[in-house]
């Protein structure tokens, strides 16, 4: 069965072909079910293969389809890798993807371009599977670029809205910066190792100088910064919320943005060999987590709050892989996929019911109007906040525990961020669902929830509650399944640094208690501020006006980038446009040539008088000249 893993990519591609070419003829209902069906097939196949992984020799199997590129010593084959890591990613992508596809049927029911939407979504699933299943860096890069393309297409899905079109371009351009670094990293791997296949690269890696490995890993990390929205390239992700909500849930929360985490986990041997880069990854992750959380405190757009929380949670994952806790990173990736997809889809459900209003200042009291949405959002929020025994609690706690062993400062930042996370999450929940409706008319005109949208919410809510069972804290003597599952991927790297040790029982218990307390503290604080004393928030905002303004304006990062990068870039572009393109290429080269040709033609066309006699005269003169020439020669 694992030999046929490539079918998992083929199924969504078939969906792309069907919906892409015949979508409009098939009808809206069928478009959606084709999208769902193909992904469901991939999911079923992934699940079957997943079961077989423990039985494979060395827990891995290479499935080679054919030689793809064969140029001199560059040999790249189209081949896939079935191993614990790729299969867990496949399950997350197809499983969450399938639920989001189902949800999208309901969410997009009023859109006129359903076929195009599902074509892009399926293309995205295929690209993402290409990314995670490839057994070499080239395939990873191809998938990496393809998901970027799908992201662009889907953010700008409503391209008639200027904001959406701009957000799509922004995402694409910012990602290019990261992808450029990533491409350089892949090139360097090629020149250093002479191969791009994971197995061969990792085997040779210990023999390579640390400096080279550090540069390679740093360049790859640049790609991860772009794709996984870390400082300083995170700016595209909040804007990406202009896209349809299923897109935000699927691409910009659950799957694509975690590609960086996956890539670093996949390359864990390289990162283990480059402690400098790992420390950089951890620092960037921690700072991003904190930074994004502070911005999320003051935002009023529900989807943007979630977007910043995604950036923040991605920071956590980066922190995890940076401190060497790769399995924790993947664990958090999976649980985050569950609860963040859930939160986004619940937010989308709110949007759908409230006619696309998403500003939490205009919402409120939706608890009774949208009960399923409320409860699932609450569960997602609890998981995001790390409320004890939810999925997010276990994964986040594990990251914090590993960070504690690594560096206390990173741990402190992480812990404080957890507090902020709990606070802003419940701020959003309270303002959206509790209290009195602030806009009566809007409230009364709300749509009802539809089952096609709530079913995925319920499934994901269950996963958000129970997902923690994948990785119970091993220090407490509980089985940590995911760590054991990913063991085959990570053991080579671990053998380089020595056995991973678990913290002492006492420390572990203390850390767990600290996390729990922090989560509950944050939730209580939100409750206290927004329910008990609703005026306190405004007073705080007024008192620390300057700090509030800075946060509200997202540290003015967009404006700074605008001034520092976009404006000079535009100026340069204008220069090239006016001087090089307009003056030189257009006027001198293109128009100049055209003018010369035209002038010549105008002169010559005068000779074409249309009188036969003149033509014959020309022929005759020419013949005589030729005859005379041959005679005199």
């Amino acid at each position: 069965m694992s030999n046929y893993i490539w079918l998992a990519i083929v199924f969504p591609l078939l969906g792309v072909l069907i919906n892409g070419f015949f979508g409009r003829k098939l009808g809206r209902r069928l478009n959606g079910w084709i999208g769902v069906g193909t992904v469901a097939l991939s999911f079923a196949l992934g699940a079957l293969v997943f079961m077989q992984v423990p039985g494979l020799p060395e827990h891995a199997q290479r499935v080679k389809l054919w030689d793809w590129i064969s140029v001199g010593s560059l040999q790249i084959s189209l081949s896939f890798l079935v191993d614990p890591l790729s299969m867990i990613m496949t399950l997350v992508v197809t499983g969450v993807g399938m639920l989001i596809h189902i949800y999208a049927i309901g969410y997009m029911e009023h859109d006129k371009d359903v076929a195009r939407f599902f074509t892009y979504l399926n293309l995205f699933i295929a690209s993402m599977l290409m990314l995670v299943l490839s057994d070499n860096y080239f395939g990873l890069y191809v998938g990496w670029e393809l998901v970027g393309l799908c992201s662009y297409l889907l953010i700008g899905f409503w391209f008639h809205k200027p904001a959406a079109a701009d957000a799509g371009k922004k995402a694409f351009i910012v990602n290019r910066v990261g992808d450029f670094g990533f491409a350089l990293g892949v090139f360097l791997i090629w020149t250093t190792f002479g191969t791009l296949q994971y197995a061969e690269v990792f085997e040779m890696a210990p023999a390579i100088s640390t400096t080279t490995i550090t540069i390679i890993t740093a360049l790859l990390f640049v790609g991860a910064i772009g794709k996984s929205a870390q400082i300083p390239l995170y700016v595209w992700l909040p804007d990406a919320m202009e896209g349809p909500t299923p897109v935000s849930a699927l691409i910009h929360a659950a799957t694509m943005v975690t590609a960086g985490v996956y890539m670093i986990t996949r390359s864990n041997i390289l990162y283990t060999l480059a402690p400098t880069t790992s420390a950089l990854v951890a620092t960037v992750g921690a700072v991003t987590a904190f930074f994004a959380a502070t911005i999320a405190l003051t935002q009023f757009d529900l989807k943007r709050i979630l977007a910043y929380s995604t950036v923040s949670q991605l920071g956590y994952m980066m922190l995890a892989v940076g401190v060497g806790a790769y399995s924790s990173g993947i664990f958090h990736l999976a649980t985050h996929a569950f609860f963040k997809a859930l939160l986004f889809m619940a937010a989308g459900s709110v949007m759908h019911a409230m006619r696309n209003v998403i500003d939490i200042r205009r919402l409120g009291g939706l608890k009774s109007k949208l009960p399923v949405t409320y409860w699932t959002f609450l569960i997602g929020g609890l998981a995001l906040s790390g409320f004890p025994l939810t999925a997010g609690f276990f994964s986040k706690d594990e990251i914090l525990a590993k960070a504690y062993e690594f560096n206390f400062l990173l741990y402190a930042i992480g812990l404080f961020t957890a507090l902020l996370t709990a606070f802003y999450t419940f701020r959003a929940i309270i303002l959206t669902f509790h209290g009195q409706p602030k806009d009566r008319k809007l409230y009364d005109s709300a749509h009802r929830e539809s089952s096609v949208m709530t079913t995925p919410l319920v499934v994901l809510a269950a996963l958000s509650l129970l997902g923690g069972l994948m990785g119970l804290p091993a220090a407490l003597g509980l089985p940590n399944w995911i760590e054991g599952w990913l063991e085959p991927i990570l053991e080579a790297g671990q053998s380089l640094t020595g056995e991973m040790h678990h913290a002492a029982l006492g420390t572990e218990v203390m850390l767990i208690l600290a996390s729990s307390v922090i989560a509950i503290l944050g939730i209580t604080a939100a409750w206290w501020v927004y329910v008990k004393n609703p005026q306190i928030a405004e007073r705080v905002a007024a008192k620390y006006h300057s700090a509030y303004t800075v946060l509200f304006n997202k540290y003015y990062i967009d404006e700074i980038y605008n001034k520092l990068i976009v404006e000079p870039g535009k100026a340069l572009g204008r220069f090239f446009y006016r001087v090089i393109d307009k003056a030189f290429i257009d006027d001198v080269m293109v128009d100049g040539l055209a003018k010369v040709t035209k002038g010549f033609g105008a002169t010559v066309s005068g000779w074409q008088s249309g009188y036969i006699g003149n033509y014959v005269m020309g022929i005759f003169v020419g013949s005589v000249v030729i005859v005379v020439y041959f005679f005199l020669r």
């Binding site: 249309g610 036969i612 005269m617």
Partner: protein, 100 residues
């Protein structure tokens, strides 16, 4: 036996007369006749060389030229008739609609 050069010179004269006629006259029919004269001049050289070289190729060539000439005259005259129907003239100065 008459020297081949005489034939060649005669052919050159006929050719020059024909060419001059094509250029001097405005009547399309006369021009076609002049073209025939030029072709005959060429035929004459070919036959003369055929004798000179003892080869039949020249005569076969002449045969081909005659075929082409017959077709050319037939089509040319058909065009001329059609043209005459359109503009009631065979003066080549009246045919200038191909002016660039």
């Amino acid at each position: 036996m008459v020297h081949t050069s005489y034939y060649l010179l005669l052919a050159a004269m006929l050719f020059a007369i024909g060419a001059g006629g094509v250029l001097l006259r405005k009547n399309a029919l006369i021009i076609m006749m002049c073209v025939e004269i030029m072709m005959n001049a060429v035929n004459l050289t070919l036959v003369a060389f055929s004798r000179q070289l003892g080869s039949l190729t020249g005569q076969v060539f002449v045969f081909m030229i005659m075929v082409v000439a017959a077709v050319e005259v037939a089509i040319g005259l058909a065009i001329l008739v059609e043209l005459y129907r359109q503009i009631k003239s065979v003066n080549i100065d009246d045919f200038s609609s191909l002016k660039g």
